[in-house]
């Protein structure tokens, strides 16, 4: 690992000033950052430790009844936040199934959204891959069982590692991004960058910008949400399939559904096909299965992950059923 400076600003202006230094990066929990440094994937010359900044740990109501969550809240705090039960439960569900208790106690909401893909070629410095500025994607012809099932034709078949981003996109969340000059709100979906936009980028954050808060819109009457991560192992594992959904459900009928798949594409994958199946319909086990089939009909599996598409289909159907209040494991219906 390279040598680096370590700065510990106490407020946002100090942090933004400290990060202007060339080669400087923010460090919150440091979970992913240290992994990347140890593997020699990045070599920052200064780490700006932002965990002391109280303003980034605030939870507040927005004017329109939404919830602003400070970017430095830990994943463990999010998993247990009482304000997030009910309509927003997909978020604590995603937070609670992330990593391990030790990591959840350290990792932050903002850091989680900025984390890099777990692609094993990206994370090995021996592979100069397209996401690191190289000329090829090694996964495309290599070991790609865990790689993208959708949006995998743009020269990088990584999958996004943030489970929390899947839930946030389903809930229509925004990020407040602040710089010394200004502040802007962008949706989580826009924050994350697909290879077709810029193959090397993971998110849109520029040097001199910081995520101040994550803003959840006020929940609508009868809104519900659900998140589930299907792992191979039950202890500490990345998903083989994960799904977050949200909609308004009156009299069993689904309105304005969002169906978001994680571990599926380089960014959270919105399945409009599944949404179209669900919209205006009464949620049943059959309908959920139909929506899952519709979602996976768009998949373009790589050489080794066609069977993972089957796992996905089962998980999508279950999550839709669970969200709709139907038991997917019951026979019949």
């Amino acid at each position: 690992m390279n040598k680096f400076e370590y700065a510990m600003p106490q407020d946002i202006p100090q942090a933004l000033s400290s990060v202007q230094h060339s080669g400087a990066v923010f460090k919150a929990g440091g979970v992913d950052l240290l992994d990347l440094m140890k593997e020699g994937i990045i070599a920052p010359s200064r780490l700006v430790h932002i965990n002391n900044i109280e303003a980034l740990k605030v939870i507040s109501r927005t004017k329109d009844g939404g919830l602003a969550l400070g970017a430095n809240l830990t994943i463990a705090e999010i998993a247990e936040l009482r304000e997030l039960s009910g309509a927003h439960q997909a978020l604590p569900q995603a937070a609670g199934s992330t990593a391990t208790p030790q990591i959840r106690n350290l990792a932050t909401l903002g850091g989680n959204l900025c984390q890099e893909t777990r692609c094993w070629y990206f994370r090995d410095q021996n592979f100069s891959c397209s996401h690191k500025g190289g000329s090829q994607c090694f996964a495309l012809q290599g070991e790609n069982y865990y790689h993208a099932l959708f949006d995998n034709k743009s020269g990088c078949v990584r999958v996004n590692a943030s489970s929390i981003s899947i839930a946030l996109v389903a809930l229509g969340a925004k990020l407040r991004i602040t710089s010394a000059e200004s502040s802007r709100d962008v949706s989580v979906a826009e924050f994350l960058v697909a290879p077709s936009q810029d193959i090397e980028k993971t998110h849109i954050l520029e040097r001199g910008e910081i995520i101040e808060a994550i803003i959840l819109p006020a929940s609508k009457p009868h809104q519900r949400s659900f998140y589930y991560k299907q792992k191979e192992k039950q202890s500490f594992d990345w998903p083989v399939a994960e799904v977050a959904v949200s909609w308004v459900q009156k009299g069993g009928v689904c309105e304005n559904p969002t169906v978001i798949l994680g571990a599926a594409a380089p960014t959270p994958w919105r399945s409009k096909k599944a949404e179209a199946v669900l919209a205006g319909q009464k949620i049943t086990k059959k309908l959920a299965e139909k929506a899952a089939q519709a979602a996976m009909s768009e998949a373009t599996p790589l050489s080794q992950n066609a069977n993972r598409a089957k796992v996905f289909e089962a998980v999508i159907a279950r999550v839709i059923s669970w969200a709709g209040g139907v038991d997917p494991l019951q026979e019949g219906k």
Binding site: M1, R118, W120, Y121, D124, N126, F127, F138, Q141, G142, E143, Y145, Q230, K231, E232, K233, Q234, S235, F236, D237, W238, V240, A241, N307, R308, K310, V311, A314, V315, A317, R318, L329, Q330, E331
Partner: protein, 761 residues
């Protein structure tokens, strides 16, 4: 000089008397009627508190004044020739004290990604790592092959252009070294036949009433011990070397260093006070040990050289893969009539992938034909791994047996009963079936109606009793009453330190807290290697005899104090008394205070067993219950009931821990672990503990372990080993339970969701 003893031998409570001649100075062997205070009971580890508080010092914890850190530059190519090495940049890097090549003569070949090319020593670990990257190595890159099936092809790139000789390690089954033909990348076959030729065996199988055929595949599993491989090497002077080593054999390691540096063995001291596991991969000086000692010599400083997790996966050893073609034939009653098994497996650039032993040794079958061949690939070398060949072989053989049972409409346990007459095995079936509730099992497969289906299955273990001789155990008794037991044996984490104290305390009638154990130091006298499950069986008879001799000495000291002859003295509860008269007694310390000269030492050596080197099977059976999600393919192991034997149990508590560990490692092997090499570059893509998946706490089933007592009287303790047998049957039992749950047989390890779904499709 011998004496006649009569002892009670047998299985559990089914005992019978046996007359035995034992040497005059040997204690009467413990038998089935002995009521013992410690042996066979449950004693917590003597070093447990030190381990959980961090006070215990492992090799990894060693910090010596002026110590340097060593690191390798490793090949990024799976096959290449090292043409030249330029050290100039590395030597100029901060903190660097020395850089040395792995081999003196250039050019030399490297045959897998991660093979050692050069070593560097620097003041800090980070400096060593950075300097290793600055060593400029010129490679001539060659064609390579990493997949078993590709390597077997006629035109595959050759991994070795020379004849490979098998080198056995202390973890291998003794007597398995051989010289075999080598064509292309295939070395073998090693043929074992019983009353059948290759030509005859197929027709024998075909003629059977029922047959089972299958092509089984098992993956490469890396040992992934908690403490990685490594040493700290320090030259005391030009001719004396001290090595702290994370090793399963202090003495094999000493011998290796002595040979490599042309020193008398006595000039090398190897210390392993605590050790974080090995599973068969840690014997000898190894590449990093030799490099550490070389770097230490040129820098005249101690050198710390431990592998990191990535290096551990690349070059620290592994359980070889296998591709097993199995054909079994049985008669109407389910009795095996013919076994055919042809296997190919890859131990990377090494040998030892054979899976034939379970086929040869589990069931008595008159007609058998087995061929085992190693296939070389450009991958890290396989090493002995917890029952080499056995979890692989059992995965195939026991699924075949299960298949025969279902074809015949027989209970899978019943077909096993019909194929064994082993008293221990039959007893284990009885206990295990009862504990598991096997009789309540639904004879139908895939009987559950919902998408999540439950199933049960079972499989046998088979292992063997090995032991070495010549190990001296020394006991010193001091005038303050303190007792020390000394031997160089290492405790690889299984608890031999505690067992030694238990034996001494038992024999001398002392409390265990009064016995001090000194082990893990080659200066303390040769001890067994912890491989082949032979530590306990190897060392305990010597320890018991030393304690017995110490007791004779103490009798001589005590006799005049009571005015009786020495044979009339007994020791119990820390006191000496006249046998048959406990009313007057003296404390152990009071007696010890009269030891002439203030202390004495006795030494006893491990001799051959009373029955010589008899081939003995260690049995064991495991029953598993699984839950298979037929929509996602995810398998959860809910419950494992294990019944094992290992002669006379010494410490039941640590024995059960070893069984639990064997099952957990078996679950992990069955469902998760898989060393994955990139087919295009030969790089391992998951050299970590995140994507190389190992069962975590939530993946561990409910485990019920039982150890049954087998009293043989073959030596004074009758102890045998459990380390290996405990992991042998787990994957096979789980596979059979998956079949029972779903009706789909999984022929390929690990049994991941994609394979389950493919089999159900």
């Amino acid at each position: 000089m011998t004496k006649d003893v009569r002892i009670q031998v047998g299985v559990a409570d089914n005992l019978q008397e046996m007359a035995l001649k034992v040497p005059k100075n040997d204690p009467r062997p413990w038998d089935g009627n002995d009521q013992l205070k410690y042996i066979g009971g449950r004693t917590t580890r003597l070093d447990g508190v030190a381990k959980v508080t961090g006070a215990a010092k492992y090799t990894f914890d060693m910090r010596l004044p002026g110590m340097l850190y060593g690191k390798f530059a490793r090949s990024p190519y799976p096959a290449a020739v090292v043409k030249s090495i330029d050290y100039s940049k590395a030597l100029k890097a901060p903190g660097v004290k020395a850089v040395l090549p792995m081999q003196e003569k250039l050019p030399f070949s490297v045959r897998f990604v991660g093979q050692e090319v050069a070593g560097v020593a620097a003041k800090t670990l980070n400096q060593a790592e950075e300097a290793a990257k600055l060593i400029e190595i010129e490679y001539e890159v060659k064609n390579f092959t990493v997949k078993l099936d590709d390597a077997m092809k006629e035109n595959a790139p050759l991994v070795w252009d020379v004849q490979v000789k098998e080198e056995a390690s202390a973890g291998d089954i003794p007597g398995q070294e051989n010289t075999l033909p080598q064509v292309g990348n295939i070395r073998g076959p090693n043929v074992s036949a019983r009353n059948a030729t290759k030509e005859e065996i197929d027709s024998l199988v075909n003629a059977s009433y029922v047959t089972s055929e299958g092509v089984y595949r098992t993956q490469v599993q890396t040992h992934s011990a908690m403490e990685t491989h490594g040493v700290v090497a320090k030259w005391d002077d030009d001719k004396h070397l001290t090595v702290w080593a994370s090793t399963q054999s202090t003495f094999r390691t000493r011998k290796d260093f002595a040979e490599r540096f042309e020193l008398p063995e006595a000039n090398v001291r190897v210390i392993t006070e605590h050790m974080g596991g090995g599973f068969g991969a840690k014997f000898g000086a190894d590449t990093f040990g030799v490099m550490a000692a070389k770097l230490s010599k040129v820098t005249q400083a101690p050198v710390f050289f431990m592998l990191d997790r990535k290096e551990e996966h690349w070059a620290g050893g592994n359980r070889p893969s296998s591709l097993q073609n199995v054909r079994l034939g049985a008669n109407k009653e389910g009795k095996l009539e013919a076994i055919k098994m042809l296997c190919h497996g890859s131990a990377g650039i090494g040998t030892g992938s054979g899976t034939g032993n379970p086929f040869k040794n589990l069931y008595p079958c008159e007609k058998l034909y087995v061929e085992e061949s190693d296939v070389f690939t450009n991958a890290g070398m396989g090493r002995a791994f917890r029952a080499p060949g056995h979890p692989q072989g059992i995965f195939a053989l026991e699924q075949g047996m299960d298949d025969l049972a279902y074809q015949l409409g027989l209970d899978p346990l019943e077909i096993r009963r019909r194929n064994t007459s082993h008293e221990v095995r039959l007893k284990e079936y009885e206990i295990g079936a009862k504990k598991f509730g096997w009789s309540q099992r639904n004879p139908k497969v895939a009987a559950d109606s919902g998408p999540i289906k439950r199933g049960v299955g079972m499989a046998n273990s088979v292992w063997y009793y090995f032991y070495g001789t010549g190990f001296p155990a020394t006991i010193q008794v001091n005038s303050d009453g303190s007792v020390e037991i000394m031997n160089g044996v290492q405790d690889i984490g299984t608890g031999i330190r505690t067992v030694l104290a238990m034996i001494v305390a038992e024999e001398l009638g002392l409390d265990i807290s009064e016995v001090k154990v000194k082990i893990g130091d080659s200066d303390l006298g040769a001890g067994p290697a912890s491989g082949g499950s032979q530590t306990t069986g190897g060392i305990t008879p010597a320890v018991r005899k030393a304690a017995y001799l110490a007791k004779q000495k103490m009798r001589e000291v005590a006799a005049p104090l009571f005015g009786v002859s020495p044979e009339q003295i007994g020791f119990e509860n820390g006191r000496a008394h006249v046998l048959g008269d406990p009313s007057t007694s003296l404390g152990w310390q009071q007696v010890a205070s009269r030891i002439p000269g203030g202390q004495f030492k006795v030494v006893a050596e491990r001799k051959k067993d009373y029955f010589g080197n008899q081939f003995q099977i260690i049995c064991g059976v495991q029953f598993a219950e699984v839950e298979v999600d037929t929509q996602t393919g995810v398998v959860k192991v809910k419950r494992v009931v294990a019944v094992h034997d290992c002669g006379r149990p010494m410490n039941r508590l640590t024995l059960e821990s070893q069984i639990n560990g064997g099952i957990i490692q078996g679950v992990s092997y069955a469902l998760f672990e898989n060393r994955l090499l990139d087919r295009n570059t030969g790089h391992m893509v998951n050299p970590n503990l995140e994507q190389y998946k190992i069962a975590g706490s939530m993946d561990i089933p409910e485990i019920d372990s039982t150890v049954i007592d087998v009293f043989k009287g073959h030596n004074s303790t009758s102890a045998m080993g459990i380390g290996e047998p405990a992991t042998v049957p787990t994957a096979g039992a789980i596979a059979n339970a998956i079949y029972h749950a779903t009706g789909a047989r999984i022929y390929d390890l690990p049994m991941t969701p994609d394979k389950i779904l493919a089999a159900l499709a």
